[in-house]
């Protein structure tokens, strides 16, 4: 019962959060609006990763595979067929879920756990990257430039630069992702997923089919991640194999959950805020430093170095993430 009430509260928080975030574009524009949009995007990706890596306990080091499938499905549907990116988004989500089930089935079938599972997901993502790099049908290493489509901008998901509409789209997608995860985790299936994470043998002994529920978590997580990939393509108008399937992408997807708090609903959103603000802040700092720091002008690497230091510090001092640790402290108090 305690668990049920907690997820009901999560739904309330979600509704309130969306209401609070709707008027944000009235106060932000330009660079700050971009930061807000990226925060929501990586919040979405982090929440999606967290379903598999946190709640289901299957640490994925290759979510770029799902992100890239969503991105490429959208790019192909829009560029080669002139269809709406929403179709690409749905197609990408379905394909990513199927790929996730394939990877998950093979890995679970052969009993891969922990580090081995992480390495396997990493390997599958890298294989996709290398295949796409040499596949002429998807423009090989050149990637896709998304052409400007005519028609209703809400159908083509193309808005003028700096338009707040991107913000509303990604806010809605993030809310949808959170809703899916909250509802899934408070359902019977969600309880089974948690029980398998805690003790797979015990859960199996009680009649829960571990394979089925682990695959469910993987499939939903993959589909949601692909949605993020589809939005990415429509927002940046460009995708190539490294941007879609690179190891760096996998890291960026899992980082919000780690920094915010693995296995919590809100951790990845908090984590995304911290990471994007720090990352974009240091990028901006290097681009136009204040007078007393002008040695930093144009020095590349500082922003990622700060990322690296942040990860080290979080693991050392907040092993349960910012949100996870805070929640624990509050409960203890």
């Amino acid at each position: 019962m305690e668990v049920l009430r907690r997820f009901d509260r999560d739904l309330l928080v979600l509704a309130a959060g969306v209401l609070v975030l709707i008027p944000v574009p009235l106060f932000l524009s330009g660079f700050l609006l971009e930061v807000a949009i990226q925060t929501l995007l990586f919040g979405l990706l982090g929440v999606a990763w967290n379903l598999m890596g946190g709640f289901a306990g299957q640490f994925s080091f290759g979510h770029a595979a799902f992100f890239g499938i969503g991105a490429y499905a959208t790019a192909v549907v829009v560029t080669d067929y002139g269809l709406s990116p929403w179709i690409g988004m749905l197609l990408g989500a379905a394909l990513a879920a199927a790929f996730g089930v394939l990877v998950g089935f093979l890995s679970f079938r052969y009993g891969l756990k922990g580090v081995f599972f992480a390495l396997a997901t990493f390997a599958f993502a890298e294989m996709l990257r290398l295949i796409f790099r040499s596949l002429e049908a998807v423009n090989a290493a050149r990637g896709f430039n998304i052409p400007i489509q005519s028609g209703n901008p809400w159908l083509t998901l193309q808005f003028p630069q700096g338009s707040p509409n991107y913000y509303y789209v990604i806010l809605a997608l993030l809310a949808l992702t959170l809703l899916v995860v909250i509802l899934l985790m408070r359902s019977r299936a969600g309880t089974f997923i948690l029980s398998i994470r805690e003790n797979e043998d015990a859960a199996a002994a009680l009649g829960v089919n571990p394979m089925r529920y682990k695959l469910l978590a993987v499939a939903v997580s993959a589909a949601l991640t692909a949605i993020g990939g589809a939005f990415y393509v429509q927002y940046f108008f460009f995708i190539d194999p490294d941007l879609a399937f690179g190891a760096g992408v996998s890291i960026q997807i899992l980082l919000p959950a780690i920094v915010g708090g693995i296995g919590t609903i809100w951790g990845p959103v908090v984590g995304a805020l911290i990471i994007i603000v720090l990352g974009q802040g240091s990028t901006a700092l290097v681009r136009t430093p204040p007078p007393f720091l002008d040695v930093l002008q144009g020095v590349s690497g500082l922003d990622v170095a700060i990322y690296g230091a942040l990860i080290v510090l979080v693991v050392l001092f907040l092993p349960r993430g910012v949100f996870g640790t805070l929640r624990e402290r509050l409960r203890a108090a």
Binding site: F59, L106, S107, R109, Y110, G111, L112, G114, V115, F116, A118, L119, A120, A123, F124, E126, M127, L130, I131, R133, S134, A247, I251, I258, V299, S300, G301, L302, V304, A305, Y307, G308, A309, L310, I311, V312, V315, L316, P319
Partner: protein
């Protein structure tokens, strides 16, 4: 599943299936492939030679990684970054202090041993009892930090170090070895040969250290059973620090040895890091000899795959081998099922 009283596991069935498929492929395409191989003999011999020489370096990188995994149970994502660090250290010594690249080993290896030991002592030692993922993330964060500080200091401009004997050849007592060597019609660049031989020598040294000295015995005891080792008076934490130092020293040696034939960027170590994971899994986690053999195998797979199927990235074949190993023999080629 049981067939005629013999226990048949799904895994062996899968292996059997793969074997049959391979045989069928061989029958169908074998003749053609053979004819192709005869036409392209030089390409193939060259691929074998290049793969072998490169594989030696992979071995050295992977031995450090497998040592760290075997003893500390940490999957080290900063291994490639340590390699880049060692390479930049050598680069600075060659550029600014007039060292020869091979002489700089005397500095880069001890330096990286010290840095590795320090990282274990100050950072990783605090998370030894946390889940694997946290240790993996810590080393990953460290890798980002090292690579990007290198990027800030040296920029992304590719750097090169001259091979010192390119013009003069290597004076060896009465004779002088002029490169490149000719091996059955294939070309073997001298710096690559030196890196290969150097890797073998260092591998031998590491093997001797682990098998024949009391320090090595203590390290192996810690790997086998930390509690038992502590009980007989071995300082487990000290062994962890020394082992991590040894692991980074190995990758430092590898980095300095490849410097004369590889252009250097802050991210140069990354691909070696990835390949070392493949090799370590292939050779069996913690198996130093397995890493040696696995490294050479992966070098061959990469180059032969690239020669047989041009147009596809060479690394693709490495990952195919990786996934097959993970799924079918996660204990490694030489490991026993636990």
């Amino acid at each position: 599943m049981t067939v005629k009283g013999l226990k048949v596991s799904g895994r062996s069935l899968a292996l059997l299936g793969l074997g049959i498929a391979a045989l069928a492929l061989l029958l169908v395409w074998g003749g053609e492939a053979l004819a192709w191989a005869q036409d392209n003999r030089v390409v193939l011999v060259q691929a074998v030679v290049t793969g072998l020489l490169l594989g030696g370096v992979y071995s050295l990188v992977s031995m450090g990684l497998t040592l760290i995994f075997g003893v500390l149970d940490i999957l080290n994502f900063a291994h490639g970054a340590f390699m880049a660090l060692a390479m930049y250290a050598s680069f600075v010594l060659v550029r600014n202090a007039g060292f020869g690249p091979y002489l700089s080993l005397l500095i880069s290896v001890p330096l990286l041993f010290f840095i590795g030991a320090l990282v274990q002592r100050v950072l990783l030692d605090r998370v030894m009892d946390q889940p694997h993922e946290n240790q993996l993330l810590l080393t990953f964060g460290l890798a980002l930090l090292i690579e990007n500080v290198l990027l800030m200091v040296f920029t992304a401009t590719p750097r090169t170090v001259e091979f010192p004997y390119a013009q003069t050849g290597i004076p060896l007592g009465i004779t002088t070895i002029q490169g490149p060597l000719n091996v059955f019609g294939a070309v073997a660049d001298l710096p690559r040969v030196i890196a290969f031989l150097g890797s073998l020598v260092i591998a031998g040294g590491l093997f001797y250290l682990l098998q024949r000295t009391s320090l090595g015995t203590a390290i192996r005891a810690v790997a086998e059973n930390p509690d038992g080792a502590a009980m007989v008076g071995i300082d487990v934490r000290r062994m962890h620090v020394i082992t991590f130092g040894l692991g980074t020293a190995c990758v430092a040696a590898a980095g300095t040895l490849v410097l004369p034939f590889l252009s250097l960027q802050p991210t140069t170590g990354e691909q070696f890091n990835v390949i070392a994971f493949v090799v370590v899994v292939l050779g069996g986690l913690g198996n130093v000899v397995g890493a040696l053999v696995g490294g050479i195998l992966i070098g061959l797979v990469q180059e032969l795959g690239g020669a047989f199927v041009p147009g596809v990235d060479k690394l693709f074949f490495v990952f195919v081998v990786f996934v097959l190993t993970l799924l079918l023999r996660p204990q490694g080629l030489f490991g026993r099922k636990s």
